[in-house]
Symmetry: C2
Subunit: 274 residues, 2 copies
């Protein structure tokens, strides 16, 4: 019997979460949406379909699951009406409505359904607090210019979040070099790397920071931004001085490796208090 | 004697402005900041230095100039203190203060100085109204999806303007694909072109629009956004359905050529009423 289930999607978060739980000897169960396998090694997952959501929820309860965490990206599956069972059919109107909305609205509705079935829905930070460090500098030392850039970036990202555009931005010498949009962090940092040479007015001035934060008022149980060793390498290639994120608002996928990369490349890592 | 002077910087706007005035037989004079030549052909420019601003303003007045328009980009020149004459020296504190601020603050101060010397500072739209078309569709036909994308983009760009980030964005199927930042429009559209394939959730849905508008409350005499034939080509390469801008809020550098390019590539051009 596993009290905890990870509803695992794509990307590094489910893997980091599973590794953290295993490291601490915590038992858990992995569930994956049919057709969207996670990268958790030896997860022995239960596969489920949205058309048979209620039988899946029953199966979780039968196996002793009381709390679930959603981790990793899942694309909207195409629903096959023939597969919908009678009990799941009662949920279809709720899901269809949510499918037509943004990702957040859909996930909020999915969370509400799990809660209606008496599951406790928790965030990655509840299952593995060490993945979400509190305020502090993990490595390196931000300059005064970096601190000013971080403050400006935080202001910009808060507004981008309110507009539901993205969760990150790059600011150097007070100027916004890039904003995270649908293509994501990797694309944005590659953009800065491509245009970095001519972008900074003062060649001796601050090299700039990449800042990341969840949306204001965002449910921390879904889609908390993640940072990993790749982010550090990409930020270094973009010529930045460091990476800053809202303390408690970002998941570090591999903290040790991130710190090692940052030290090697001379970047700072800073969980900034709001 | 020329009543009108173009303070001409880099880019296509001074060229378009001069061509428009010549086409209509209007006399004008070209002035260029020393070291920052414009691309106006046969402009026979007066060259000036910031260190000798007052003698330059006197020279303009002596030649009968009563109104000036700033057109094209000028980078901050390095001031050489030895060159500053006594009368211009009285303006140095104002300029030094403005040099330390953003581009807008600097230009506002420069405009104020010209006005203190009794020049009428006007926008490109005053000198050449046909460069700034009013509301209407110039070519093509936006779909309902395109109209919804334009509305969403207008909302985003207004907020980006308030944050002083940029003047443009790309929205497709309600999703923000890119935001204009310091690297400018070309870089943003190249970014969308590079990432366009996997960005649109519904392959049969709207291909998206590029939207451009001045900042809310922006002084229309400075830095009005410009669009040209290159913008149309780049928007086509980004796979977009059309280009939309705030009516009266963008300068078309070569309207005929833009329309020809748009028709050839199947894009619409739409000056959208606010």
């Amino acid at each position: 019997m596993s009290e905890t289930a990870i509803i695992a999607g794509q990307g590094g978060l489910p893997v980091a979460l599973a590794a953290s739980l295993r490291e601490r000897g915590k038992d858990f169960l992995v569930a994956e949406l049919d057709g969207f396998p996670s990268a958790i090694p030896d997860g022995d997952p239960i596969r489920f379909r949205v058309e048979r959501l209620v039988p899946f929820l029953d199966a979780l309860a039968d196996r002793g699951v009381r709390r679930v965490a959603f981790a990793g990206a899942i694309r909207r599956p195409a629903l096959e009406p023939d597969l919908i069972d009678a009990r799941s059919a009662t949920l279809v109107p709720r899901l269809i409505g949510a499918f037509g909305s943004g990702d957040d609205a859909l996930l909020r509705e999915v969370i509400a359904i799990f809660e209606d079935f008496d599951f406790d829905v928790v965030g990655a930070d509840t299952l593995a607090p060490e993945l979400v460090p509190g305020a502090g500098i993990l490595t390196g030392l931000p300059s005064e210019a970096d601190r000013a850039d971080a403050a400006r970036a935080a202001e910009i990202v808060a507004e981008l979040g309110r507009l539901d555009i993205g969760q990150g931005a790059v600011v150097a010498q007070g100027l916004c070099l890039a904003v995270e949009t649908l293509p994501g962090t990797d694309a944005m940092l590659a953009f800065v790397a491509a245009h970095a040479g001519r972008l900074r007015p003062d060649p001796r001035g601050g090299r700039g920071v990449f800042y990341k934060a969840p949306k204001p008022g965002q449910d921390r149980r879904i889609d908390l931004p993640t940072l990993g060793p790749d982010t550090v390498r990409e930020a270094a290639e973009a010529g930045l001085a460091g990476i800053v994120w809202e303390a408690g608002g970002a998941i570090l996928l591999d903290r040790r490796q991130m710190q090692a990369e940052a030290e090697k490349r001379g970047l700072f890592l800073w969980a900034r208090a709001r």
